[in-house]
């Protein structure tokens, strides 16, 4: 017992205290956090405000005024007010839907408003209308030579032209076939893509306004462009799932996010430990330290010790990642989306999945002499790893379908399937949980038994890696 502990402890420490583990497993999430933070910071950084003009060549003669209006300070102000209003609305709806408190909703809308302010104050653009007779080629050539950044231009020079828009008559009046032509927008180099997008949108909106106001039918009906826009806006749905317990508000994408997150967490912690187990077993064989170890411990003690040691590695990863996730949920007061019992199941199914994968890894590691040879024997393990990926969507979409229920009792993949179902949108029938756990435990016993047989013989075999028939023979040997 003590020997098994020593083996486990060595396995654990020699895995944890390597650069690979520390950088790969511990630092990666940290680095990602830092990078994400840095990106968020730079996004909020206010760049220099762009001051400039947009030249409009209006061949239709009906759009230029609309564009001017849409770039006027009054319009910009009301546009901003409307955006802020809609953000408040969304936050309020969000609060109803997924149960945010008033404070959280206020915080969310505050963040959104900041973003709006930032975006809208990026540029101060005026419109200059040019006659359609102007030399477009010369104007384009001049635009190509412009540097729009103020610091690169001589002091006191007038604001530069940043774009030329050409609105053909066909953009407002359709052809005989009912087809509208596109408008053209030429921009100077280095124009911020957000500003360019806004220019495009405003011109497009002005063209649509011109189409509406110039249409005889609409004029006769007395509808304004605002009326038309309100009419054609597609409504949003208020979705809810009906369960026996009552209405359950749909969290939308979160319905897939939670099962996916749990499955990934399980898969990652199981695979990391399993992979290390394979590597260390092959290393002990290829460095010929195996027989030295076997003079002190029995093959069973060695195998159990190694599995337990790597299980601790997997547990470290699982605890760390799920801990970070739970901590961030608590910080953002989102904990209610996560039933704590799910964490208990996560650990139960981790043990089942890990022992199955680890037994197979130990068997493969003991049977081969080099890492390269292990690849060919990894097929059953790869199947167990790949299937949850393929099953994640269909099962989280219909957690209680016959297919999902059957998959919950397939040895090897059932821990992953159960985790997807348990975190899904519909409650799993109570009886299926213990039955699936039982199936898992039975498969653990069978896997560990078979693996210990293969391990005992495999660890001292060198040379050609065994085929499946040989492995079965080893299992059947006393």
């Amino acid at each position: 017992m003590l020997k098994t502990f020593y083996v486990a402890w060595r396995e654990f420490t020699s895995t944890i205290w390597t650069k690979g583990f520390i950088t790969g497993v511990l630092m990666t999430p940290l680095i990602m956090l830092v990078v994400a933070g840095a990106i968020a910071r730079t996004k909020n950084l206010k760049g220099p405000r762009l001051i400039g003009s947009i030249a409009v060549i209006d061949e239709s003669g009906r759009v230029a005024q609309g564009i001017k209006t849409r770039f006027s300070p009054e319009f910009l102000k009301s546009e901003k007010e409307q955006l802020v209003k809609s953000v408040d609305q969304t936050a309020k709806e969000g609060a109803d839907k997924i149960g945010l408190s008033e404070d959280q909703a206020a915080m969310a809308s505050g963040i959104a408003k900041d973003a709006i302010n930032n975006a809208l104050s990026k540029a101060d653009l005026t419109i200059e209308e040019l006659p359609p007779t102007i030399d477009l080629a010369a104007a384009k050539a001049a635009l190509a030579a412009i540097d729009i950044h103020e610091k690169n231009r001589p002091e006191g020079s007038p604001p530069p032209r940043v774009a030329i828009a050409v609105v053909p008559a066909g953009a407002v009046t359709p052809s005989a076939e009912g087809v509208y032509t596109k408008f053209e927008l030429f921009t100077a180099q280095k124009l911020d893509f957000e500003i360019q997008g806004r220019i495009e949108n405003k011109i497009a909106a002005a063209i649509v306004d011109a189409r509406i106001t110039s249409d005889d039918r609409i004029q006769r009906s007395g509808l304004t462009p605002e009326d038309i826009r309100a009419l054609v806006k597609e409504p949003d749905a208020n979705t809810a799932t009906l369960t026996k317990e009552g209405e359950k508000k749909n969290a939308g994408a979160a319905q897939f996010l939670l099962p996916m997150a749990f499955m990934l967490l399980l898969l990652m912690s199981v695979m990391t430990g399993g992979q290390y187990l394979l590597t260390s077993t092959v290393e002990e064989k290829s460095s010929r330290v195996m027989e030295v170890l076997l003079s002190a411990v029995s093959p069973a003690q060695l195998m159990i010790g190694k599995i337990v040691g790597q299980m601790c590695v997997g547990l470290v990863i699982l605890t760390l990642y799920s801990g970070v996730a739970v901590a961030s949920l608590i910080v953002f007061s989102f904990m209610h989306v996560l039933d704590p019992i799910l964490l208990v199941y996560l650990f139960i199914f981790f043990f089942i999945a890990f022992f199955i994968i680890a037994s197979m890894m130990a068997a493969v590691g003991s049977a081969v002499s080099e890492m390269r040879e292990a690849q060919t024997m990894m097929t059953p393990i790869m199947v167990i790893i790949m299937l949850p990926w393929l099953l994640c969507m269909p099962i989280s979409r219909a957690p209680n379908s016959l297919f999902s229920t059957i998959m919950s009792f397939v040895p090897g993949i059932n821990p992953f399937v159960m985790m997807i179902r348990l975190t899904g949108s519909e409650p799993t029938p109570t009886w299926q949980i213990p039955v699936s756990i039982l199936v898992g435990l039975i498969s653990v016993v069978i896997c560990a038994w078979g693996a210990s047989k293969i391990f005992r013989i495999g660890v001292l075999m060198y040379g050609k890696p065994p085929n499946v028939r040989t492995l079965i023979k080893w299992i059947r040997m006393a």
């Binding site: 020699s14 290393e283 195996m290 027989e291 001292l460």
Partner: protein
């Protein structure tokens, strides 16, 4: 005192190959026994079965009075033929880890490891990684791993292979010391010279079968020397030597010596007397039979003419005798 190792009709096959064939062994407690034989003779298989690392197809064995070495693993020190170290582990941690696996508690393990490293002159590499050591240093580390827990029985497989003469001598002294401390030692080797120097018992295996199992004195008595070395005072003594009763051949060796071959059945002591009477000699020496000769005799007696002297040596340059 019961024998440390007893085997009865021990048999092991690997597929079609009969690796060990109905082997009976008795290794008395406190003895130092060498297992010799060419490559593939079944030495390592026998040792692995004794260590319960592999299991016999049939036959019985008892190790330190138990039916399996598993039950007395902590009382056995084992240096396997396939030996290695954790490359990335520090020498000191590796040895304390193995000491703890062999049942020594943590503080005692550190002290013992430090003492042993100092004894074999590896004190200054304790904090180095195992992969940084030379091959000879690694061998010494592995030897320490085998004896660190003061076992009653020490089993050493190919203990001298790959060592330079200086380290062979060091290991020989360490083994001798273990023997003097009363431990039973079983070791396999190609190095006949070391075996002759160290052992009080020899076990010869050929093609999985025991061809000899005897104490050194028994071997010397049974395989009485057929060769005599004579250094006459007068160099032209060849004819006189040839005339002596029982001498069938006289071959000159070196500048002034002759090797005399004796007829089967001739009492060597009488032959010495007759030579001394026949000629004045500076030296008359009855050459002691070498294990190599004995082995070849025995194998050829079984009708196997294929065995060559080279088969008994893995690396002839390294297996040259070292005189203390």
């Amino acid at each position: 005192m019961p024998d440390a190792i007893v085997t009865r009709r021990l048999t092991k096959t690997f597929g079609p190959k009969l690796a060990v064939n109905s082997l009976d062994l008795n290794i008395p407690t406190g003895s130092i026994c060498g297992v010799i034989g060419p490559n593939g003779a079944g030495k390592t298989t026998t040792i692995r079965m004794i260590m319960s690392i592999i299991f016999p197809d049939s036959g019985e064995l008892s190790v330190l009075g138990k039916a399996s070495a598993v039950e007395s693993k902590d009382r056995i020190g084992y240096l396997p033929e396939e030996r290695g170290l954790y490359k990335k582990m520090k020498v000191f941690s590796f040895l304390t880890y193995l000491a703890k696996l062999k049942g020594i508690d943590s503080p005692a393990a550190s002290t013992k490891v430090a003492n042993w490293l100092a004894r074999v002159g590896l004190g200054d590499v304790a904090r180095k990684k195992c992969e940084e050591l030379s091959k000879g240093m690694q061998q010494k580390v592995q030897f320490i791993a085998a004896v660190i827990h003061e076992p009653d029985l020490l089993i050493l497989d190919e203990v001298f292979s790959g060592l330079d003469p200086v380290n062979r001598l060091l290991i020989r002294e360490l083994i001798d010391e273990q023997h003097r401390d009363g431990r039973t030692i079983l070791f396999s080797t190609h190095a006949m010279y070391e075996a002759e120097q160290l052992c009080d018992r020899i076990l010869m295996i050929h093609r999985g079968q025991k061809v000899l199992d005897a104490t050194m004195p028994e071997i010397y008595a049974r395989f009485d020397p057929r060769t005599m070395l004579v250094q006459p005072i007068h160099p032209d003594a060849a004819d006189s030597l040839r005339a002596i009763d029982g001498v069938i051949a006289v071959d000159p060796v070196d500048i002034d010596s002759f090797e005399l071959k004796l007829r089967d059945g001739t009492d060597p002591i009488d032959a010495v007397r007759r030579v001394a009477m026949a000629i004045p000699a500076r030296r008359i020496e009855l050459k002691r039979t070498s294990l190599e000769d004995v082995f070849i005799d025995l194998v050829q007696a079984t009708g196997d003419q294929t065995i060559k002297r080279e088969d008994l040596r893995t690396n002839t340059t390294l297996e040259q005798p070292v005189h203390a």
